[in-house]
């Protein structure tokens, strides 16, 4: 139990997650991550944001085409009006209005689609040019009106001149006048008249032919000249009008617009490519990161497994060490118990040695003297009757003294036998004698209180250390005597079973419950109050019996008593039997 508690409480689990510490490395990683995300966002914006609406673009292009068309129509309208000799182009107000609308529309659509300077500058150029051109129409209209008036006046003058030249003498004049009128007409009609020299020659001819002051003719030439100058002025204005840069600026605008959208498209294409590359790079980075993570996780797993294994090993090691330690402790206790035991026996032996010598010396001369005195008394001459009685009495008293001294001598012998300090460790031994010897030693614990019932069988000898076996029996008898309160019975029986000797020591004392029985052979286990028992007695008994290859069992019922059963191997029969049989033969 202590073991499992130790194992589970041995370490506290690591927190699974921990706030990253703001180290320089982590900071760099954070910045790198931010940069990567920023780059991604900008790339996304570059490729997807700012998209050009194709319909918007188409409409812009249509508007540009319309503007070009209207511009051409404006140019054409003045040409047509001149040819038709209209004082003013009939569609002009409508055209101007539409040009303004288109211009406005262009401005709106381009401004809305948010263009850069490459588009906005040509746009502004065109708008200015268009405004100038529409403004120029007023002047042009007036010039056109002047020319038409002059042309009509010239034709009228020609008709009237020809009518005036009906006379014969004027006949030579008729042909140049007609040629002049025709030339002037074509001059007025042709967009690029090439007959100006013809007109000048005809005018000179007419002037020369009418040397006389001819009023009609002069009127005609004046009208032709007026028409010619009006025409030239108109032609100049038309050329200037046509040369106004609307068409070119429109073209520029269109090109700029197309360039812009193409550039934009290219830019986005580039952005997408970059995004793709970047995404691929990111994927590679993520893959690497994932691999790294996987590797670090597997490393972690392995480290974890190792740790667990090490932990298990440690636990096992601890368990083994604990077992070893407790074994060592048990051994130590056992050795301590044995040491105490052997010390006890050694000091008992020394004491017995001293006591025996000290007692035997006075006992020696006392006993000898008593014997001598008795011999002297018995060797005396036949005394008279009075002395005879006292002599008999003295003899009796001396016999008693001798008896007493024999008792003392016997006790010393028993003590010597018991301690066996002068004996070898192992020798064949009669267990019955050992039991008797032990009974004699603990006699005063039993005397008068506990009856001893002996049931000894004929026993083979047991090879043993007699002093140890004596100690066993004495311990068991002392325990029995202590278990009995008041009068009781101690039953000691022996028997020989299968070349083993069995000894039963049974008391009718207080007994033990199974819990106590389970522990009685453990060192330092005692039921006596602290200080009254070492708890070593029965553990020593157990160890001694074990050393003799014997067995000891206990059977006890609380309130009824306890029985110890000791079984010891006897001397092998092989060596003992021949001598025995010979002895029998010799005896008979």
């Amino acid at each position: 139990m202590a073991l499992s508690r130790m194992a589970s409480g041995g370490y506290s689990p690591e927190p699974l997650f921990r706030l990253p510490q703001l180290s320089l490395r982590n900071l760099a990683l954070l910045v790198a991550a931010t940069l990567a995300i920023g780059l991604l966002a900008s790339l996304l914006r570059m490729s997807w944001g700012h998209a050009i609406d194709p319909t918007q673009q188409l409409r812009g292009l249509e508007q540009l085409a319309t503007a070009a068309r209207l511009d051409a129509a404006l140019d054409q309208s003045f040409e047509s009006a001149r040819l038709a000799l209209d004082a003013e182009p009939a569609e002009l107000p409508d055209l101007v209005q539409r040009i303004d609308a288109t211009r406005q529309g262009l401005q709106d659509s381009f401004t809305r689609s948010g263009v850069d300077a490459s588009v906005s500058v040509p746009l502004r150029n065109y708008i200015n040019a268009a405004r100038d051109k529409t403004a120029a129409t007023t002047e042009l209209k007036r010039s056109l009106g002047t020319f038409v008036t002059a042309f009509k006046a010239m034709q009228q003058q020609g008709d009237s001149t020809l009518a005036a030249l009906q006379s014969a003498d004027d006949a030579p004049l008729r042909r140049p006048v007609m040629a002049l009128v025709s030339a002037a007409t074509s001059y007025g009609i042709q967009s690029v008249p090439g007959n100006g020299a013809d007109i000048d020659q005809l005018l000179a001819t007419i002037d020369a032919a009418s040397s006389r002051d001819h009023a009609v003719l002069s009127k005609l030439t004046a009208a032709v000249r007026t028409m010619r100058s009006a025409k030239d002025s108109l032609q100049r204005q038309l050329a200037a009008f046509r040369a106004m840069p609307t068409a070119s600026s429109l073209q520029q605008l269109r090109n700029a617009s197309l360039d812009y959208s193409r550039n934009e498209e290219l830019r986005r294409e580039r952005g997408r490519t970059m995004l793709g590359v970047y995404t691929a790079a990111l994927f590679v980075a993520f893959g690497a990161l994932a691999l790294w993570l996987r590797k670090s996780f597997s490393d972690l797993d392995r480290a974890n497994a190792n740790l667990q294994q090490a932990n298990e090993g440690l636990e096992q090691g601890i368990a083994e060490r604990t077992r070893d330690l407790s074994e060592a402790l048990d051994n130590l206790r056992m050795q301590q118990a044995q040491l105490i035991q052997s010390e006890k026996m050694a000091s008992l032996g020394q004491m017995v040695a001293g006591v025996a010598h000290e007692i035997n010396t006075p006992l020696g001369y006392a006993q000898s003297n008593v014997q001598t005195v008795r011999e002297v008394l018995s060797g005396m001459e036949e005394p008279d009757a009075g002395k005879r009685e006292s002599l008999d009495e003295a003899g009796m008293l001396l016999a008693d003294a001798e008896h007493g001294m024999e008792r003392i001598s016997e006790l010393v012998l028993t003590l010597k036998d018991f301690s066996r300090v002068d004996r070898s460790r192992t020798e064949p031994f009669n267990v019955n004698e050992a039991l008797e010897s032990a009974l004699k030693i603990c006699n005063n614990q039993l005397k008068g209180r506990i009856d001893v019932e002996r049931d000894y069988a004929e026993l083979p000898q047991v090879p043993c250390a007699p002093s140890e076996l004596n100690q066993v029996f004495l311990n068991l008898m002392t325990n029995a005597a202590q278990a009995i309160e008041g009068p009781g019975l101690l039953k000691i029986s022996t028997c020989a079973v299968d070349n083993r000797v069995e000894v039963r020591i049974r008391d009718n004392g207080c007994g033990m419950d199974p819990d106590v029985q389970a522990h009685i052979f453990e060192p330092f286990f005692t039921t006596k109050p602290i200080g009254q028992g070492t708890g070593l007695g029965l553990s020593i008994v157990f160890r001694i019996i074990e050393n003799h290859q014997g067995q000891i069992k206990v059977q006890s019922t609380p309130g009824e008593g306890t029985e110890f059963l000791i079984s010891l191997p006897a001397v092998p029969k092989r060596a003992a039997s021949p001598a025995g049989s010979t002895m029998e033969q010799a005896g008979s």
Binding site: P362, R423, A579
Partner: protein, 314 residues
């Protein structure tokens, strides 16, 4: 009892640090012997230097000098005298020394029985008054080397009696160069060898498969009193050692492991002793054993004797 001439009485020296013991002993023995006493080892040696004694009886535990030391001095000063240890308690060393150094005749424990002590002293005096040839009486340590070598050349057979095969082989290797060595694992085997060979020295292990060797040795000596016994043991025991003195009169008790030179020297001495005993059979009285007192042991001894006789006659 008529004590006409006190000088002619055998002279006995009692040594004990307790004067009352000396008084008691003097009372018992003064009628038959010329009893001298000493209360210390030093006084005893003085007395030994001044007079000759037939028997020296000493206590073991005394202040200044132990009984063994007194008896060893007595052996050197008066080899002819018999030595008895009378002690209240004996440890193992004392008994082993009593055999090997004191060569004591008896080891008697206190308290003693007057009758038994009388008998013991009587047999000691008897042995002491036997004529002793000078070469046998001299302490063997004092014998010149040449004599020892001569003794060893007499080729006295040695019987090694040990249940352990390794020990037998080792002993045979150690002793085999100078004399015939016969090995036996059991007493029966050994008896067979004794019957068929001339064997004068027995080197035996004390614990012979649970049999009591001291009884067997005593019995063998009853049959052939000149046999010299050396007992080897790893399990020395004071009580057994006393029995070996009183009932077997073993020559030496050696504790295993025994060094080779010591063993060879001891066997040489034993061979020498056997030769002397063979030449002067009357000397055997000096090693007379007492019969076991207890009836059971006596029976066992007689049984053993019967067995030996049966084996020898076979």
């Amino acid at each position: 009892m008529n004590i006409a001439n006190p000088i002619s009485k055998p002279r006995v020296l009692f040594v004990d640090d307790e004067p009352r013991v000396l008084v008691a002993l003097k009372v018992i023995f003064r009628d038959h012997y010329d009893v001298q006493t000493a209360t210390s080892g030093a006084a005893a040696i003085e007395a030994l230097q001044a007079q000759t004694f037939d028997v020296v009886v000493s206590d073991q535990r005394m202040p200044g000098m132990t009984g063994i030391e007194v008896l060893r001095s007595a052996k050197q000063l008066q080899p002819k005298s018999m030595r008895i240890l009378l002690t209240g308690y004996s440890d193992l060393n004392a008994t082993v020394d009593a055999i090997n150094e004191g060569e004591v005749f008896r080891f008697v424990t206190k308290p003693w029985s007057n009758d038994k002590l009388r008998a013991t002293l009587a047999s000691a005096v008897e042995a002491a008054t036997t004529d002793v040839p000078p070469e046998a009486a001299a302490p063997i340590e004092a014998l010149p080397d040449a004599q020892l070598r001569e003794g060893s050349q007499s080729a006295v057979g040695v019987l090694v009696l040990d249940p352990d095969a390794e020990t037998r082989t080792a002993l045979k290797n150690t002793l085999g160069r100078e004399r015939p060595v016969y090995c036996a694992a059991s007493l029966d085997e050994g008896l067979g060898l004794l019957a068929s060979h001339r064997i004068g020295v027995i080197v035996a292990e004390l614990m012979l498969e649970g049999e009591d060797l001291s009884l067997a040795l005593g019995a063998l000596r009853l049959h052939d009193p000149s046999l010299v016994a050396i007992v080897l043991t790893s399990q020395a025991d004071a009580q057994r050692a006393i029995t070996l003195i009183n009932q077997s009169q073993v020559y030496r008790l050696l504790r295993k492991p025994v060094s080779d030179p010591l063993l060879r020297g001891t066997v040489n001495l034993a061979s020498q002793r056997f030769t002397t005993l063979s030449k002067h059979p009357e000397l055997v009285r000096r090693n007379e054993t007492e019969m076991p007192a207890e009836p059971a042991a006596r029976t066992a001894s007689i049984g053993m004797l019967a067995r030996i006789k049966r084996l020898l006659l076979r």
